[in-house]
Amino acid sequence: MATKSVAVPVALRRSTAERSQWSMALERFRAHRPAVIGLVVLAVLSVLSLLAPIVSPYDPDKTQLLALYEPPSLTHPFGTDDLGRDLATRILYGGRVSLSVGLLAVTVAVSIGTLVGVVAGYYGGWIDSLLMRFVDMMYSFPRLFLLILFGVFFKGMTVGVIVLVLGVLSWMTTSRLVRATFLSLKSREFVEAARCIGAGDRRIIVRHILPNSLAPIIVAATLGVAAAIIAESTLSFLGLGIQPPTPSWGNMLNHATTDMDKAPWIAFFPGFFIFLAVVSINFIGDGLRDALDPRHVIRG
């Protein structure tokens, strides 16, 4: 109880410091033009996808055998696909799937990866050995194989299954990166100093080391979103993607590959939107890295 009166001003001081640190980060992020553009593009894509039923007058799954492969026109701005469905509508609905797969899978992967990396890198010893052997084991299973298993087990691929599977199978790189930073930083002077003044493990991890490994985590996460959206399309390529008729940019792109000569727009639009989303996300990650790294000096 006695410490309470002391603790309050400390906490207050810290939060003020934090606030200015965050507002500085926000300023730096704002200065990163590609990141801001990326954020706007991603926001527009997300909103349009969310509002797809309002934005589009078409049913995404309504096939029209008499209107196959119609080139872009006023009625169908992106044309129609191999089954006569409005491509623009399917792009919007596909965005829901692809964006959520990308973001959710990476959230799952980064959470697991950071946790494992922190524990392994900070505590070291047998915990590290055990966790890293587990990472090795996870790595040594070809992802594809587990995907086939999951796909069959869950009777077909849904968004949830793909998110779970991609997330659970792709956290290892993050964990190794985080662990590497921890191995390298935990014997540094500032950590020793923090330990000397009696800081607990939790405090050292969260306040002193973890912020220093944010940069690699953010880079890994942005690359991870890209990878997850692309992984979803590769799964489609191997016949293990989200089941039709639910559209995703990946399965739309894959289904278009056989018609690339005949109807290039069917392949162009899903490919373009994958590219657009991934580039935006990467730029946001880049901006975040610049913004969150206080040592970082902006030059020319």
Binding site: L65, L240, Q243, P244
Partner: protein, 560 residues
């Protein structure tokens, strides 16, 4: 009876629809064939083995037609003609004899004299006997059907073999479709561990000289071939492994290969437009179908249980009426298939009836009358049961997925909700309860796949549509996946199996298939064609319904 046995394989000549400049016999006869040259054929599946007794892939036949021969071969009309044998033994010519009680059969084969294996050793009747022995002895052989009916084989002389069947095995002329060399193999304990699986020894026009796994298989002219020195015209054939039919077609267009195996229907419009490329479209006996589960969708259901939705014949009818087969064929298969109507579309027993065509209004009326009422979301229900079904096929098959999505939409329009639940072919078509084949276990509502009957349709009809063939937990062997039960159909199938009178057999199969179709348990989507393509300088092709396009490879030549 005598005639019956001979005609067992032959019947009405099926229509041959060759699009593009179809190679004709007169054309190849008119232009005098040039000798020499190499033909490269793109294949987009790789034969894992070339040993005929192990092979289970179509693509193996494609390669082996140039290498391994049998006693007979089959014409496009389904008629047996002698190949290594002097003639096809029949009751009429005395080659086939029924025992006094009519329960056993003796077949006498006589080999053409002077035939040599490609290594120069002579072909003798001992090779016929050895072929039977190895088929029965080697535990890893593919189906032993036919060989298991043989009691013994006598070899009166070097060129004659008398095969004693313990039953009247009607497809006997095709039993020895691939002969195996005794001299080469008899000392081997396990053929699967020998070089034979990749470089089999045969009597055909070519011999395998190189097998580069995942890359190419090279066949070179067999100088000991009985047609030599005239035939084969080509010096070399290289089967080149490519990853997909798309790459195969691209390589054909670029002239990197001179022919390709097995185009998808969707590729035909592009291929038809390519300069210097000719297609060969041959109708095949393979039928793509959608089978509807009439029993409960759960593991090993009681065959007498009733599916809550598909148990109602009105729903099954409505599903058929709401299926635009012809539109699917025209738009998604580019007209390169025929609307299906039965499991037996080719040969002497071909079923001539049809299935009702596309009529969504009739589908709606049927469902209305049966008491299936549309809800607010447009999906029907009856007595609290929602008309919601699952629909499975093999994952990653683009054509099937397209067909599924179109049908999904059509069925939704008449108030039946269908969800796609595809599974890898290693599961869906595993044919094994242990491997969780949903058809065997009964854990499906609707399943779409293709199946091909043999030239003699009996095994197909009997194992798939007799009520005794419903797979159960106790006996998983049957293939009656829809759980179709009809005593009259059972009787007809049994009758067909008990007589050799062709007309009676044909009528009985027709009766059974009619009853099957009247139960609306299978939607016969389409009869698939075999589509192969070549560059026009490669000449001498002949279509054959029952064979692969390489069946007459000794007649192929390159036009200069």
């Amino acid at each position: 009876m005598a005639v019956g046995l001979v005609i067992a394989g032959c019947g009405q000549p099926p229509p041959v629809t060759g699009t593009s400049p179809a190679p004709s016999a007169s054309a190849s006869a008119a232009a005098s064939p040039t000798r020499g040259g190499t033909a490269i054929i793109a294949i987009w599946q790789e034969p894992s083995t070339l040993a005929a007794h192990y092979a289970n892939q179509t693509v193996t036949d494609v390669v082996n037609f140039g290498v391994i021969e049998g006693l007979t071969s089959t014409t496009t009309d389904g008629e047996y003609v002698p190949n290594l044998a002097k003639s096809v033994p029949t009751v009429a010519n005395g080659g086939a004899k029924l025992s006094a009680d009519g329960k056993k059969l003796d077949v006498t084969w006589e080999l053409k004299p002077g035939i040599k294996w490609s290594d120069g050793t002579p072909l003798t009747s001992a090779d016929i006997k050895y072929t039977w022995e190895i088929w029965m002895k080697d535990p890893k052989t593919n189906s032993r059907t036919g060989f298991s009916e043989i009691e013994s084989i006598d070899l009166p002389n070097e060129l004659t073999a008398v095969v004693h069947y313990k039953s009247v095995y009607a497809p006997y002329p095709n039993n020895f479709f691939s002969l195996m060399p005794k001299a080469l193999l008899e000392k081997e304990a396990d053929i699967s561990k020998t070089d034979y699986v990749r470089r089999p020894l045969g009597t055909g026009p070519f011999k395998v000289t190189e097998f580069k796994a995942g890359d190419s298989i090279t066949l070179e002219k067999n100088t000991n071939y009985r047609g030599a020195p005239d035939k084969p015209y080509l010096d070399k054939i290289i089967f080149k492994s490519v990853p997909s039919s798309q790459v195969a077609l691209a390589q054909l267009q670029a002239g990197e290969v001179s022919a390709m195996w097995n185009l998808t229907e969707a590729q035909t419009p592009d291929a038809e437009k390519m300069a210097g490329v000719a297609l060969q479209v041959v109708p095949g006996p393979t039928v793509e179908r959608i089978e509807l589960n009439t029993a409960q969708n759960k593991e090993n259901p009681d065959p007498n249980s009733v599916h809550p939705v598909l148990g109602d014949i009105a729903v099954r009818k409505a599903l058929l009426y709401a299926t635009p087969k012809q539109q699917v064929i025209d738009k998604l298969l580019f007209g390169k298939a025929k609307a299906g109507s039965s499991p037996v579309s080719q040969g002497w027993a071909a079923y001539k009836g049809t299935q009702e065509g596309y009529d969504p209004a009739k589908a709606n009326t049927t469902l209305d009358q049966a008491g299936w009422v549309k809800g607010s979301d447009g999906i029907r229900s009856k007595g609290g049961v929602r008309a919601s079904l699952t629909y499975a096929t093999t994952t990653g098959d683009q054509l099937r997925e397209r067909v599924q999505q179109v049908l999904l939409d059509e069925w939704k329009a008449v108030g039946i909700e269908v969800k796609i639940q595809n599974q890898p072919s290693a599961v869906l078509l595993s044919g094994s309860c242990a491997s969780k084949d949903p058809r065997k276990l009964g854990t499906f509502d609707m399943v779409m796949y293709a199946s091909t009957p043999a030239i003699d349709p009996h095994s197909t009809v009997a194992s798939r549509y007799h009520s005794k063939q419903i797979p159960t937990a106790a006996d998983c062997s049957g293939q009656n996946y829809t759980r179709f039960k009809n005593p009259d159909a059972d009787k007809a199938i049994e009758e067909a199996g008990a007589t050799l009178d062709l007309e009676k057999r044909k009528a009985a199969y027709n009766t059974a298939i009619k009853l099957l179709n009247d139960a609306y348990v299978i939607i016969w989507m389409y009869d698939r064609a075999n589509i192969d393509a070549r560059r026009t300088e490669l000449q001498g092709w002949q279509p054959n319904v029952w064979q692969r396009f390489t069946w007459n490879v000794q007649d192929w030549y390159l036009k200069k």
